[in-house]
Symmetry: C2
Subunit: 341 residues, 2 copies
């Protein structure tokens, strides 16, 4: 079984994006805000958006199941206010739940959280609980910078984040560390802010001692870990010097996906990071949607790059494509087992 | 000849750091500020700091010459004000000039600029001119984020930077894009801010069209290009989609050093980036000063990693160790030729 741990509903119908734009426009004037009912997408429109998008590419590329969450860029926690963030998270998560109900063999749900630069992280816990306990979600995306590229909040090792980690541990679900869009003109969203957030948070975790307080917490650093595996020697050295522990001491709790869009990058990732910490991911129909003119293949068809890593044996491939994600997302594993998988 | 394109005077005597601390403390009270004369380091103290530091490691590791600039972290353009930034740049650059006068065979000078978050970049041009025209400097470090980690300024493609580029082109010197320390608790300096700045600026250049206006401008992205080579496929794809040009269209103007502290990273760098765009650099006695317990070797001995890249032939090695840096820094080339090298 081949599980893609990183997918977003990037192909939502335009009406859904329009609803969000109006919601933000009237964030401080609820009387003019669009009614919730207008955010509703018909089943047929969901089927079309998914069927012509992620589902088609799943089949073409040979994967079976995608961990599916709302569009990351559109989480935009820096827009609106805490109330609109909550409403938008509920609407977006409910839509993802419906995608998974329509295509239960192909998608498993991961939620966005109602974060806001003006609200403490703990305020996101009730929506996390609703999604996991009531709706069967198996994980969440946690934004380390709700300011959208100005990084005015606190590092993720700060105690203000602890209520979120307590809930994650109690619910036994991991969080993927994932920013939303950037409103800072210095940072392109998918070309800089995404990658930089991955690197910055990894370094926060390296500096701190979070996993002493939360030994079972599991965090996924997407986009191949940002710059981290490329600079693995730098981080190995800094971990010894800054934190007086080998970098490997973090690897019970930190995992990387394979959203690296060329073979040499995936080869480096699987060479320097232990196989037990790498999970297949593509974030397909995301940052780079085109084909490489040199090969004719899609840049974001990352399965192809893993397939071409000759140093991986069958056990490695099973771990990367299925085993690790079932271990890191135990609620997914239980759902699959209940289906005899 | 083996030229290290990336070195800082990180081993300055403590009295020099102390002078800077007092200068910042009294930034708005010049009457209490430390006298300039107190920043003076004796020749013997310079000889000791260099002789036991960068010069010793140059000899041990087998390189010949280092492009040498003031400590990057200590540039701290976010501290003090425009006046103290100018004074500090002058003092620091004069000290680097003296290092190069004491060890003319081993070091060539690169300057810091008197940037400040409250001042337009053009205000840095007179000090750039003084260093290059009067003092024989061959390049400069240009800070893309004088705010020290909050990125409140404009992207480097903005026209406010143009006076700096005009001067760089006229003087025919390159700039290394190099941030100073971070005052943002979300970003560790050398573990996140450095690497993220490299990635962010590369993406700014990809999005923009700066080199149409400055076809001879040469910018060096240090630390192996941040995350860029690891995500080369992402940037190849984005260049086509965002800018409608192949990524290779940037490579007349952008160069990467080899400050990547393990062999697999340097191997990836030299595999995906054309050899003509890679320059040997180590930033020794910098972010990672220790030895790899697995090998007993220094993490920042990057020459060793290049030596171990089997795919490089003699012409590649000559380009990486000498040829490219003499081409990118023509004033260095002329100085070396004048010495018969």
């Amino acid at each position: 079984m081949i599980i893609d741990c990183h997918g977003h509903f990037t192909t939502v119908p335009a009406s859904f994006r329009d609803w969000r734009a109006r919601q933000v426009e009237f964030a401080n004037d609820p009387a003019g805000a669009p009614p919730l009912a207008d955010a509703r997408i018909a089943d047929d429109d969901i089927r079309e958006a998914i069927g012509n998008g992620q589902l088609r590419l799943q089949k073409e590329r040979g994967s079976d199941l995608t961990l599916f969450s709302p569009i990351a860029g559109l989480m935009s926690h820096h827009l609106g206010n805490e109330r609109t963030s909550l409403e938008w998270a509920e609407v977006s998560n409910n839509l993802v739940r419906r995608v998974c109900d329509l295509f239960p063999d192909n998608f498993a749900p991961v939620c966005q959280l109602p974060q806001s630069p003006s609200a403490p992280p703990k305020n996101a816990v009730p929506e996390l609980r609703r999604c996991v306990e009531d709706l069967g979600f198996v994980g969440c995306n946690l934004n380390p910078d709700p300011s959208g590229g100005y990084w005015t909040g606190k590092p993720m090792t700060d105690r203000e984040w602890y209520p979120v980690y307590e809930a994650l541990c109690e619910l036994d679900v991991p969080a993927m560390i994932h920013v939303a869009s950037s409103c800072n003109p210095c940072f392109h969203g998918t070309g800089a802010h995404y990658i930089n957030a991955d690197t910055a948070v990894f370094m926060q975790l390296l500096q701190g001692d979070l996993f002493k307080d939360f030994p079972t917490l599991r965090l996924v650093i997407p986009h191949g870990g940002g710059a981290v595996p490329y600079h693995w020697g730098r981080y190995r050295g800094m971990s010894l010097e800054v934190a007086n522990r080998p970098l490997e001491g973090l690897l019970d709790n930190i995992f990387f996906d394979t959203c690296v869009y060329h073979h040499p990058g995936v080869e480096l990732l699987t060479k320097v990071v232990p196989t037990s910490n790498v999970m297949f991911g593509s974030e397909m129909i995301g940052a780079v949607r085109g084909r490489d003119p040199a090969t004719g293949e899609y840049f974001d068809d990352t399965k192809r790059y893993i397939d071409a890593c000759e140093a991986l044996d069958d056990a490695d491939r099973h771990a990367i494509f299925e085993g690790n994600v079932r271990r890191v997302y135990p609620r997914l594993d239980r759902q699959l087992k209940a289906r005899g998988l």
